[in-house]
Structures are given as C-alpha cells and as structure tokens.
C-alpha cells in the first residue's frame, strides 16, 4: 500500500534538475501566467532550505531585491519550474540558513565550495 503511494510520488520526480545543495545560489526559471500570455521569470538567490521528499519537495530561495529581502518557495517538481541553474555553489554547515535573514551585505556572504 505504502509502496503504491511512493510509486506515484516517484513518478512525478523530474530528473532534469542539476544537483545542488543548501547554500548554493540558484537561478530558477519559473513560468508565470499573465492573462493569456505565459512568460518565464528568473528568480536568482541563495537556497536557504529544502523541505519534503519525492514529488512534494520544495526549495526556499532568498534574494535581496532593491535592498528588501525576498523569499520564494518553489515546488521543485512543478511543471511550472522550467529549469534550474546553479549560479554558484556555496559552503555552509547547516541545513537551513535562516540566520541569513538577520544579516545584511558583507556578513550575508557564503563561502564558495571547491
């Protein structure tokens, strides 16, 4: 029974996303519907957390937009996520980077991963 559920969930997992970790800077290409038209919006920011497994997986991406912190949560395997690019890989020691919310500018930098 439980296998059937996980089978269904695994079916929706897409394999076209690159490998990335928390701390990486990602570019998420997200399809947005405006009336009839559909366009792709790029959201670039630091991956500060992941939650969920299989097709329920979602990522939280944070960026500073005009000196205002913006976080977006993307369902990773949604058909509306066109693609994801890794702009920069970062070295962090935690799974959730919520501390970044309290930091600004130079302090909010993340060391690059080799």
């Amino acid at each position: 029974m439980a296998n059937l559920i996980s089978m269904l969930e695994q079916k929706e997992v897409r394999t076209d996303h690159p490998k990335f970790q928390v701390g990486d800077t990602l570019r998420v290409f997200f399809k947005i519907k405006e009336g009839d038209k559909e366009r792709v919006q790029v959201f670039e920011g630091v991956l500060i957390g992941e939650r969920g497994a299989a097709n329920r997986k979602a990522i939280t991406v944070r960026k500073i937009s005009f000196s205002c912190g913006v976080e977006r949560i993307f369902p990773l395997y949604s058909p509306r996520v066109e693609k994801i690019e890794v702009a920069q890989s970062g070295h962090v020691r935690r799974a959730k980077l919520y501390y970044l919310r309290d930091l600004r500018g130079k302090k909010a930098r993340i060391r690059e991963r080799e």
């Binding site: 029974m1 059937l4 559920i5 269904l8 009839d36 509306r80």
Partner: protein, 252 residues
C-alpha cells in the same frame, strides 16, 4: 442510485496537473469486482447485484459461502456488498463476470462511502466543535463542558437531538462529488481530489456522482460557467463569483 463498486483506500498524496496546479488526492485501488450473485424481484423482492472483491483463504470460508461462490464459478472473495441495479440493466452483467474501471468511463466525479475512523467516546468540543469555557477568569473544573442543556420547568426535559458527548466516528460516511483526477488502468488506481472516509487499507464504495462536477482550477468543470439561478441569493452570488474569479486569470 447508480451502481457502485468496491475499492480499497490506499492513502493520500499530491499530484501536479499539467499547468502546475497541485492537487491533494486520495488513491483508491480498484481490484476487479466479481458478480457473485443476483437478487431478482420475483425471488428477493428487489433487484441488485452482489459483488465480491479481495482474496480469502479457503479455510476461512464457511459452507454457505462456498456454495454461493461455486454457483458463480469464482474463487471466494473476502468482501461482499450488494448494489441496487435497475431491473432492466440486470442482464448487462453475467454471473461470475468481472467489473472494473470500465464502469467509471466518462465519469468526472464520484461519491465515496466508507466507515469513518473511530474516535471513541468523544466530548462535545471534539464531537460538535463546542467552544468550551475560558481557560482562566475563575473557570473551575468546567473547561471542556458543553454548558446548559435546556430550560427550566417548561419544557422540563432535554430537547431531542441535543448535541452531547458520545461515540464519534466509526459510522458510515458518504463524501459526495469527489473529482476524478486520474485513472490508471494498468495499476487499477483511481486518484480522487480530496479526502475519503476511513483508514488506509479499508474498503470503500464508489458511485458515479449524482452531483454536478465542481469547478476546479486546472481541471475545469461544468460548474465553472454556471452560477445560481437566483440572483437575489447573496450566498450564491459569492459562490458564483469565486469560480469565475478563479477562472478569470486563465481565460483572459
């Protein structure tokens, strides 16, 4: 009532529709239902098909049941249910034949009946959503009570149907109009939008819905375009506005 089938509740998960809408779904496994016997009006006073599903060990079947299954020339089944059928349609299904997903062809929504999870003897807060009493300001040993249950010498009794504590759950519940999101014939699975009574692994009865399919973003539905016929009804005006608003960004 239209004829129904037995299915097993597998559990819940979520799926994406093509346009990215996430839908919570209940997964039902629909193993073939076998026509075990037929009830006819001459003999039984009504017409119905008795269906069976699920395998069972021979040793668990008593002689009476063995005879029943032998007549239909099928292996014994664990679950038996009767479904009322029009006398005219009784001949469409042979004794011993299997009914499966094909009964759901062209069906957009289902009514699902099952036995809800038992909650035991529950108080009024859990059972009837009473508010209880304040946690402080002098409340003493009365936090989860229901309060007064009646008046005084007149009427001098507690009115019938007064909501009180008692058994909650473990009763037959029907959920109407659950949208069919996906049908997977190879795996005998049906994905319905929303929740279904009962725990995982239990048998539920599914019927083609008697109701109009509800509007659902990403799936659509007839109700999408229609509102209430009565323009004066404020409650209906809201319900009309909502699906229209939900559909609007799509249509423009």
């Amino acid at each position: 009532m239209k004829m129904g089938l037995m299915a097993t509740k597998v559990g819940m998960t979520q799926v994406f529709l093509d346009d990215g809408v996430r839908v919570p779904v209940t997964v039902l496994k629909l193993e073939p239902n076998v026509v075990v016997s037929k009830k006819v009006s001459e003999k039984d006073g009504y017409t119905a098909l008795q269906l069976g599903t699920g395998m069972i060990r021979q040793s668990l079947v008593n002689k009476a049941k063995k005879g029943l299954f032998a007549k239909a020339n099928t292996e014994p089944r664990r679950h038996l249910r009767e479904f009322r059928v029009d006398p005219a349609k009784m001949d469409t299904h042979e004794l011993g034949s299997q009914i499966g997903l094909e009964l759901l062809e062209g069906v957009t929504s289902l009514d699902v009946s099952g036995i809800s999870k038992g909650k035991g003897f529950a108080g009024v807060m859990k059972r009837h959503n009473f508010a209880g009493f304040p946690g402080s300001h002098g409340t003493h040993e009365y936090f989860r009570h229901g309060g007064s249950i009646g008046m005084r010498a007149k009427p001098g009794k507690v009115l019938k149907g007064k909501r009180m504590a008692g058994q909650m759950g473990n009763e037959t519940v029907t959920v109407q109009n659950l949208r069919v999101i996906r049908v997977m014939p190879e795996e005998n699975l049906v994905l319905l939008r929303g929740a279904v009574p009962g725990s995982k692994g239990k048998i539920v009865e599914i019927y083609p819905s008697t109701r109009k399919p509800k509007a659902l973003p990403g799936v659509g539905g007839q109700a999408l375009e229609e509102g209430s016929k009565n323009p004066m009804k404020a409650s209906k005006a809201g319900s009309k506005g909502k699906p229209a608003a939900a559909a609007a960004p799509k249509k423009k």
